[in-house]
């Protein structure tokens, strides 16, 4: 399988404190990859380094063989970051249209209305974002993330704060994009999501990969335990979940 993402001996230190010691992994094209770890283990830092927000202390992070540049890359990226935000004083439609234009989405208004209808927000198109609930804002963000069918979706805790119905809706949307051939990196603390969706996964601990491979391989390595149990075993009882 060709690699969509390639991380080689990535190291990251902040003010002399090493967060990532030596991390290497790949994400194949069309693969759903679970990027797991306790809070503060360095998952978001790795993603931010991959997207060029951080300059790595060592190693390289490549997307389709190149460093990521939003305007000089063959890979279109949809990123749902851990930090959630939109232009709060603008309407839903204005927010989405702006991103649609930046992503050069054709028939943008039509696409947005269709998406809003699907996620139950058709009547909110002209409402200001700050009048929406947190979950509704998250759906708007997801819509912006998947606009234009990006080749790589990076979802940092996409279902955080969603009720089961909306969680299922989101999972359906992820499924659809996977079926279209998108590669997906999913950061989550829900092991059932990992078991259901991910082809492969990586457990990040102490700045290195504690476990890495297909879900079957990881389970085998831990004596056939469930992913939930493996997570507890790896991060111990004291992790700050």
């Amino acid at each position: 399988m060709k690699s969509m993402v390639e991380v080689n001996h990535f190291k990251m230190a902040f003010s002399g404190k090493t967060l990532i010691k030596d991390l290497s992994f790949t994400v194949g094209k069309g693969e759903i990859f679970g990027f797991l770890g306790s809070n503060g283990s360095g998952k978001t830092t790795t993603i931010r380094a991959l997207l060029g927000f951080y300059e790595p202390t060592g190693g390289e992070l490549l997307m389709d063989g190149k460093k990521f540049n939003p305007e000089d890359s063959d890979v279109t990226v949809g990123y749902l970051p851990e930090e959630r935000g939109l232009y709060r004083k603008e309407t839903v439609m204005d927010n989405m249209l702006y991103f649609a234009e930046l992503k050069k989405l054709q028939n943008a208004r039509e696409w947005i209305l269709k998406y809003l209808k699907r996620v139950g927000l058709a009547d909110k198109a002209d409402q200001r974002v700050d009048k929406l609930s947190g979950g509704q804002q998250q759906k708007i963000q997801l819509g912006i993330t998947i606009m234009g069918d990006p080749k790589l979706l990076i979802l940092d805790e996409p279902t955080k704060g969603f009720d089961p119905i909306n969680r299922r809706l989101l999972m359906d949307i992820i499924d659809e994009h996977h079926a279209k051939g998108a590669s997906i990196i999913m950061v989550t603390h829900y092991m059932d999501e990992v078991e259901r969706f991910c082809d492969r996964a990586l457990l990040l601990k102490d700045g290195t990969a504690r476990a890495y491979g297909t879900i079957k391989e990881i389970k085998r390595e831990f004596g056939g335990k469930s992913l939930d149990q493996i997570f507890v075993d790896v991060y111990g009882e004291n992790h700050e979940q």
């Binding site: 931010r48 060029g52 305007e71 949809g78 990123y79 970051p81 959630r84 702006y98 991103f99 912006i144």
Partner: protein
Amino acid sequence: MSSKTIQVAKYEIVRQLKKPAFWAATLLIPALIGVLYFIVFVSSNGVNTEPKFDENTKIAISDEAGILSGQVPYLTTESKEQNIEKLEKGELDLYYVIPKDFPENKKAEFYHISEGLEVFNNDGAILKRILSQDVSARVDDLDALVLTGEYEVTDHKLAKDGTDANVLGKAIIPLFVGAVFFMFVALCGNRFLLTVVEEKENRISEMILTSISSKHLIVGKIVALLILGLVQITVLVVPILVMVFLNRDQGFLASILGMIEVDPLAVTLSIILFVASAVFYAGMCTFVGALVSTARDASSFIGPAIIAMVLPLYFMQMFMATEPNTIVQVFTYFPITAPIALMLRNGFGTISVPEFCIGTSIVIVSAVVAIRLAVKTFQKNAINFGVAKPKFMRKR
């Protein structure tokens, strides 16, 4: 310009133009000017700025010094007390006394019934006119002309090479451009500072920077803000120009307008400098905005930023000198003070074209550097939502 830069600029312009706050800020100053003009216009109708002197005016003059000829019709032999009583009864409008010691003290007296607050009452000047006319009648025409001073002295300022200098006339347009730049600095600074803070405050910078590079985002925002600044300045300047046009024939304004001389070189250089300075100021404010993480942090910079830019105005006298001193030289070539310093020197005609070009080049290079710094800083600080303050601003 890239299509994404244009998209950013378009988005920023449209959403600013939709904000009532933008139009409130834009229209506030012209509205205030209009109100002020209206008040002055209305009140000036009731203000006596010219002496009231016609055939119906009842005047009396007590010439105790005996300097008037017998031909003056207003002379009275009644006592001061009697004349004041006549004033009180309305039998007199104006009463003047030329005391005995007038030749030594050079002081005459003027009595009239007060009509309230009369800041501009000039009726005292009527006595001067009567005295002047009386003396003029006793000498020949030429002496009378000299005595009354009713002649003009035309001012011809020459440059060292003998040509007409007209320094003030040539300075008016460049100084007007400088004044417009000052308004631009004062009006737009806050918006420039806040423009990139919004992405951080709304925690949207990560999403946006996976769709567009920080370079195109920042440049797009700066383009938008410059256009919006131009809109605000136009709204502000056009009513002023209209008022000037409507009052073009009135005294002082007419003489100022008559003096204006368009020096194409100075005007062209002023416009080039204005554009470069505006871009530099926008870049500098955006850089500061990229450094901090909240609107409150950014707002604390606006005062110092404006003061730094307009600092040369406090030393304006020095900029009029043909030979610039060290302070003027430093201000001329120091990037932050250079825009206003160059505009002043260009206006007063105290800078040579090569010097001006060097100064303008410094501003242009500084603008490019400021924008590059803003781009780099925004990219670096885009995700430091809570701690993106410079070290000196962080709480210990």
